[in-house]
Amino acid sequence: MDLITVSGPPSSGKTSVIIKTIESFLQRGVKVGVVKFDCLYTDDDELYEKIGVPVKKGLSGSLCPDHYFVSNIEEVVEWGNKKGLDLLITESAGLCNRCSPYIKDIKAICVIDNLSGINTPKKIGPMLKSADMVVITKGDIVSQAEREVFAMKVQSVNPKATIMHINGLNGQGAYELSTLMYDKDQNIITLEGRRLRFSMPSALCSYCLGETRIGKAHQMGNVRKIDLSD
């Protein structure tokens, strides 16, 4: 089974792009399954069910979603193998822009949209910087110039990535993306011993542990102060 991790900011079009891509996989007889990671709520699993692919969802709830992802990915791979998939796609929303779920030597796609603003590529950390492919969506509603400028900005934070423009509504480009996503010779049985591409932020403070009170007396662990001096 081949594995690919897709992530990107909320509402950038990850699910639409994946669904359009899966449609072209299904036509070619490639067996695809999806595991959707989210934080509080998602009904995207229903969209995947609708097109008839095996799907599981995981909600991280009170945990950091990317930490939750890493703690579960091994079992997710097991599930995919048990289902006899050719390709397992994981989808997760990058929420703080500092984490990324990418694993060394496992293909990683970041989905980002043209409407998110010209400085957004700079604001997104490892999720964009260390992706192998960057899919840019919503190009059908902005001007050619903005598309070109946006693609340049993406290229300048991640010069190595393959950049693709995909229309998540009509699927333009999705077939092409599918040819890059799946490698039938990949056979991933387990992720045991593999490593993340990038460490997650080192945050462990009293608020991580459920503290709700405000004030110095209640702050412990990894605390940093904003510089407010004149």
Partner: protein, 339 residues
């Protein structure tokens, strides 16, 4: 071509002198180089303190590779000769039902306008996607698209600085919070244009020629009218976009001189492919492609007779426009005189 080795030989200042764009790249990646400009690049990178690296999510080894990659990318971007003459050839593939498309080969040259007609859902977008991707018997239609007689290799296909196709469509909007001038400046900067001021002015003037109502360099792009936006997009694409092929999905009649717009694109040696339902636009093309059931059914040259009809249609169009303007400015229409 720079290599990792050069990072061990050049100082930060020398790097910036040699590759000016590398400074922005370093800034974008939050590399702390201030005050260390006379030190060797490699040393500066290797001595980034761990806390800063973790804070800014910098992976030093990876950054070195990316820096080299970026410089190479910019070098190839700058070094490319603008190939003004492009020829696109489409070889037949298959209809949705598996039968073969019924044409020999279709060759389109720079400066030609080709219209694409056919019912909605007939396969127009797939044809456009085949061209955009330079299909090589590896898309659902199994068409082959040759650029200047050759298929493209994978690298050329995915190069984002080298995109074949620029797109313009009815539902596109400007979304940036910039004035016309700032916007054009940003686009020109990203294209590394040398004579930026001249280019900006020439786009601005052309756009105003195409638009019914005039706008200023200081007008925010988000407050341009539909016609003005379209005009600016077309002028900008014609003059600044590097892509040799322009795909147009309908241009609305209101607020823009469509004939002038097409003339502008053609004069910049673009290949124009235009999907349209409008008979005037369809006849403005040198040829039209008729699409049905997912395949190219026919390729028709615009005939002499059709050109005569076109001039009549244009006259009708002008009458409509005059009436529209009269109504807009509070005049009354009189049937006999108008038609």
């Amino acid at each position: 071509m720079p290599s990792i080795k050069q990072l061990k030989e050049l100082t930060i200042n020398e790097l910036f002198d040699k590759y000016p764009y590398s400074k922005d790249f370093m800034l974008d990646h939050h590399i702390p180089f201030e005050g260390k400009e006379n030190l060797i690049v490699d040393e500066v990178l290797d001595t980034i303190d761990e806390e800063h690296a973790e804070d800014q999510a910098i992976d030093v080894e990876k950054f070195k590779e990316q820096l080299i990659e970026y410089i190479n990318l910019m070098l190839s971007f700058l070094g490319e000769e603008d190939e003004s003459q492009t020829e696109v050839t489409i070889l037949p593939g298959f209809y949705k039902d598996g039968s073969r498309e019924n044409y020999d080969r279709l060759t389109i040259k720079s400066g030609e306008i080709i219209c694409i007609v056919g019912p909605t859902g007939s396969g127009k977008s797939r044809l456009l996607a085949d061209i955009e991707w330079a299909a090589n018997y590896d898309t659902p239609t199994k068409r082959t698209v040759l650029i200047n007689g050759n298929t493209l290799d994978t690298k050329e296909r995915f190069s984002s600085s080298n995109k074949l196709v620029a797109q313009l469509s009815q539902n596109m909007n400007f979304v940036m919070d910039l004035t016309v001038e700032e916007f054009l400046d940003l686009h020109a900067t990203s294209r590394l244009v040398e004579n930026k001021e001249d280019v900006i002015i020439s786009i601005f003037n052309k756009a105003n020629e195409l638009a019914g109502e005039q706008f200023k360099l200081t007008t925010p792009i988000t407050s341009l009218s539909g016609g003005q936006s379209r005009a600016l997009m077309i002028a900008d694409t014609a003059i600044l976009s590097k892509s040799p092929i322009v795909l147009i999905d309908e241009i609305e009649n209101a607020g823009i001189d469509r004939e002038k717009a097409l003339d502008l694109l053609v004069s910049e040696d673009k290949i124009v492919l235009m999907a349209t339902h409008d008979p005037i636009l369809a006849l403005m093309g040198d040829k039209r492609i008729i699409i049905n059931n997912g395949g190219i059914e026919k390729i028709v040259d615009t005939t002499e007779d059709e050109l005569n009809i076109l001039s009549k249609l244009k006259r009708l169009d002008r009458i409509m426009l005059t009436m529209r303007n009269k109504l807009r400015y509070g005049e009354q229409l009189e049937f006999e005189e108008e038609i």
